[in-house]
């Protein structure tokens, strides 16, 4: 494996990790879950990205999580 490929894969790994820890992949995970459960069933519509992120913070509003000291 060349140096360029190694650097590129390390950078991709880092980006994947940062996004994961910050929670940026939440919508992708939701969509993957939705597809695997409901598939093409349109009775349960999949939220759009915008709807999903709104729903996420609204859920946090009614279900607060403590931060540690």
């Amino acid at each position: 494996m060349g140096v360029v490929t190694a650097v590129r894969s390390a950078a991709a790994g880092l980006a994947w990790y940062v996004k994961g820890v910050l929670g940026e992949d939440a919508y992708d995970k939701y969509r993957a879950h939705h597809e695997s459960v409901h598939g093409a069933d349109t009775a349960v519509p999949c939220m759009t990205a915008r709807e999903f992120w709104r729903d996420q913070t609204d859920r946090q509003d009614v279900n607060p999580q403590g931060r540690c000291c």
Binding site: G13, L22, A26, H34, R50, D58, R59, N63, R67, C68
Partner: protein, 760 residues
């Protein structure tokens, strides 16, 4: 919820978990794991011998050699080697004998999957999530204050305490909550300890929350009061967070990394700009705020922040704080390894035995163990480990890496904070951490006071204090109690040797202050919200309308009650003629350890009901320790006849002076100040009584549950019913060869409805 199921003895782990034959293995047979662990190749033996030798050497350097100075690198090695051994052997022992995770069972993230709250998350990512949620300002502050007793007691407690107590608690609570569908500690307490124990645990949690929020807020007030630079840059985090919130809400939803980077750049700009603004006359005048108005500002802020929607302030600041947390801690670790500061503090100082230290009063036992809570044993983690994390775990065996491993990581943060605090001059340390009541708040007063302590090797000069203040861009560093400013000076001192030289010290100091303030403000805001929901839930039992959390008036009312509660303690700390931090910090530690005792008591009841008495000591030993520490500390706080230790002794001394018509007493110079002391000590004393009573009730009910289980040969459990798993993932940070082979089977199978799993 949670039907009690009794499983016949001998078949404990044998509900029907036959896996779908169409799938590759969802779990490795436990014997494969054991065989892998038992395969001691020469290389593996060599590595572990090296770790053991290096760890042993480091402990010898710290504890036995004790030359004039000790290098900080030994702290790092002693910690890391001990963690590795504790993780590899002790947590493995707990896994094998006590918890017996079964990867054939689906976790809540799998069987309750909704793609939102319950979602299987890569173990390494979840480790980051969990660490960011448990590590806050606590491990940064406690070790700094405990440094007055010398470096050794704190170091031993942080490292040994985490291996046998703190990490065990986190691991157990996480595992038990995961087996119960992610149930909260409060619910588990009710299930395991019954009504009385459960109610006591609930009241204790609520009171503890109030104390913890109040004292964290006190740390921020002490760090920012009379610091125009700090007030400006930390104040700017509010508009920055609002901007980030709107950006994510309206402009680019979900672009979390992008906005975090933008936010970070703005944050740095706010720190740099703060220096420029504090340097101008109007800026210095405008942002120079005294303690009391600043405390009131934080109280108002706390109320507003807790009723604003999450997306506007809390969520964006959370992203920022996670980003800063992981970055800064990594940076500090690297800097300590590069700089390797020499430490001149004695191993054990005279204050460990005399108990007359100016930073926090009391002798090593029990006060060291309550001063350092987070980092060694932190009950608050039980709320996180029974909150979000158990709903995201992919496989049962991963609880060890995330629960036990995550806590080791926090302990390491505490060790680094200790090193940073120890690396600054001891005279400066005491000048910064002695209350204004002792130093008079002036350079001359501080020099006289610190030199009068008669510490060997300490010769503080006024120039040292004025020069350090100038270096860090503050008007004064005298009596900046609370730990945060001391840590920031230490961090600035270390960082400037890596980047920027002494010219950059002011930047690094304010960077560190910002870093801590950010966590604390998030904790204040989130803590108020959680406490409000708990209060609403409890009130709902009497006034059903309160159960409706969308009822605006109820929400505002309960938020107001919680803010008033912690606000009152905060104001009390800020105006305390005796200093504030030194009298209140023990309450914070006692509260936190008490919560740990509650969590461990619940775990003990669970283990006992399962009939696993042979391994009960794993829980019983840390529980006994936490119980002895909190109860002794509380009893001393209530009954000690030494006024600096006992709240009521102090109260009596001041009451007597007032009754005798005196107009000044000790450090209180007016009748009002004396009356304030009488009032404060009464409140603090009553809080101590409440804490110790609740602790005794919870521990007693746990002992009762344990005894009943012993008597009836119980084999009951409140676990959710086992559901066969349909996914596979390795358990530790690095996949073992057998896990890699199985992972390859999963990766190579035709892609029909497979989840994408990234693994190396």
């Amino acid at each position: 919820m949670g039907a009690t199921s009794s499983i016949p003895q001998g078949a404990t782990d044998e509900p029907d978990l036959t896996q779908d034959p169409a799938l590759p293995p969802v779990a490795l047979d436990p014997t494969i794991h054991e065989a892998e662990e038992a395969r001691w190749t020469p290389l593996k033996i060599g590595i572990w011998v090296a770790i053991a030798l290096l760890g042993g050497l480091s402990w010898v350097m710290l504890a036995v050699v004790r030359g004039e100075t000790v290098n900080a690198i030994w702290f790092v090695f002693a910690a890391i080697c001990t963690y590795l051994i504790g993780y590899r052997f002790y947590s493995n022992y707990i896994q094998k004998h006590l918890l017996r995770p079964d990867d054939r069972r689906a976790t809540p993230a799998e069987y309750k999957a909704d793609g939102k709250d319950y979602a299987a998350t890569d173990r390494r990512v979840l480790f980051g999530h969990h660490f960011a949620a448990i590590a806050g300002a606590g491990p940064l502050v406690g070790p700094v204050l405990a440094a007055q007793m010398g470096y050794l007691p704190g170091t031993i407690w942080i490292i040994v305490g985490v291996v046998f107590a703190g990490a065990v608690q986190d691991y157990l609570v996480l595992f038990f909550s995961m087996r119960r569908g992610g149930r909260s500690l409060g619910q588990m307490a009710r299930d395991e300890l019954g009504r009385v124990g459960g109610t006591a645990a609930l009241i204790a949690t609520l009171t503890i929350m109030v104390i913890i929020v109040a004292i964290l807020a006190l740390v921020v007030v002490n760090a920012l009061a009379e610091s125009a630079w700090g007030v400006f840059s930390v104040g700017m985090t509010i508009p920055i967070a609002l901007f980030m919130g709107c950006y994510l809400r309206f402009f680019r939803p979900g672009k979390v990394t992008e906005i975090s980077i933008i936010g970070f750049v703005l944050l740095i700009a706010a720190i740099v700009g703060g220096g420029a603004i504090a340097g101008t006359e109007w800026g210095a005048a405008m942002f120079h705020i005294d303690k009391l108005p600043l405390a009131i500002g934080i109280i108002v802020y706390g109320f507003v922040a807790a009723i604003l929607p999450v997306w506007l302030l809390l969520a964006p600041r959370d992203y920022l704080s996670t980003f800063m947390k992981i970055g800064t801690i990594g940076m500090l670790a690297l800097a300590i390894v590069i700089v390797r500061p020499e430490i001149f503090v004695p191993a054990v100082s005279e204050f460990a035995t005399s108990g007359t230290g100016p930073v926090v009063s009391g002798q090593l036992f029990p006060f060291l163990f309550v001063t350092i809570a987070c980092g060694a044993l932190s009950g608050f983690h039980a709320l996180i480990a029974s909150g979000t994390t158990p709903k995201l775990i992919e496989k049962e065996r991963q609880t060890r890496f995330i629960g036990y491993g995550g806590m080791l990581m926090e302990s390491f943060v505490a060790i680094m904070a200790l090193v940073a605090a120890l690396s600054i001059d001891r005279g400066i340390y005491f000048a910064m951490n002695s209350s204004p009541a002792l130093t008079g708040g002036t350079v001359e007063g501080a020099v006289t006071f610190v030199n009068s302590l008669g510490l060997t090797g300490v010769n503080l000069t006024p120039e040292m204090l004025t020069q350090t203040a100038k270096d860090v861009g503050e008007a004064s560093i005298v009596s900046r109690t609370g730990g945060a400013p001391t840590l920031s000076v230490g961090l600035a001192h270390i960082m400037q040797q890596v980047a920027g030289g002494s010219g950059m010290m002011a930047f690094w100091y304010h960077f560190a202050i910002m870093f801590e303030a950010l966590f604390i403000l998030t904790a204040v805001d989130a803590g108020t919200r959680v406490a409000r929901f708990m209060l609403q839930d409890s009130l709902g039992n009497f006034f059903p309308k309160f159960k409706d959390t969308s009822w605006r008036t109820g929400a505002w009312l309960t938020t107001g009650v919680m803010v008033a509660a912690w606000g009152a303690v905060l104001v009390m700390g800020v105006t305390d003629p005796l200093g504030g931090i030194n009298t209140l910090f023990p309450l914070f530690g006692i509260a936190n350890q008490l919560l740990a005792a509650i969590a461990l008591a619940v775990c003990m009841a669970i283990v006992a009901k399962r009939g696993m008495f042979k391994y009960l000591w794993i829980v019983a030993v840390p529980l006994a320790f936490a119980a002895v520490v909190t109860i002794t500390a509380s009893i001393l706080k209530i009954f000690s006849s030494v006024p600096s230790v006992g709240y009521f002794a102090q109260n009596a001394a001041f009451s007597k002076a007032l009754a005798a018509g005196e107009t000044s007493f000790g450090t209180a110079t007016s009748v009002e100040a004396m009356e304030a002391v009488v009032r404060n000590t009464m409140v603090q004393g009553i809080l101590s009584i409440i804490f110790v009573t609740l602790a005794v009730i919870v521990i007693f009910t746990a002992l009762q549950a344990t005894w009943n289980a012993w008597r009836t040969h119980s084999n009951a459990t409140n676990e959710d019913l086992a559901v066969p798993s349909r996914i596979f993932a390795p358990s530790g940070l690095v996949a073992t060869p057998a896990e890699k082979a199985t992972q390859a089977e999963w990766d190579n199978r035709p892609a029909t409805g497979t989840r994408k799993v990234r693994g190396h």
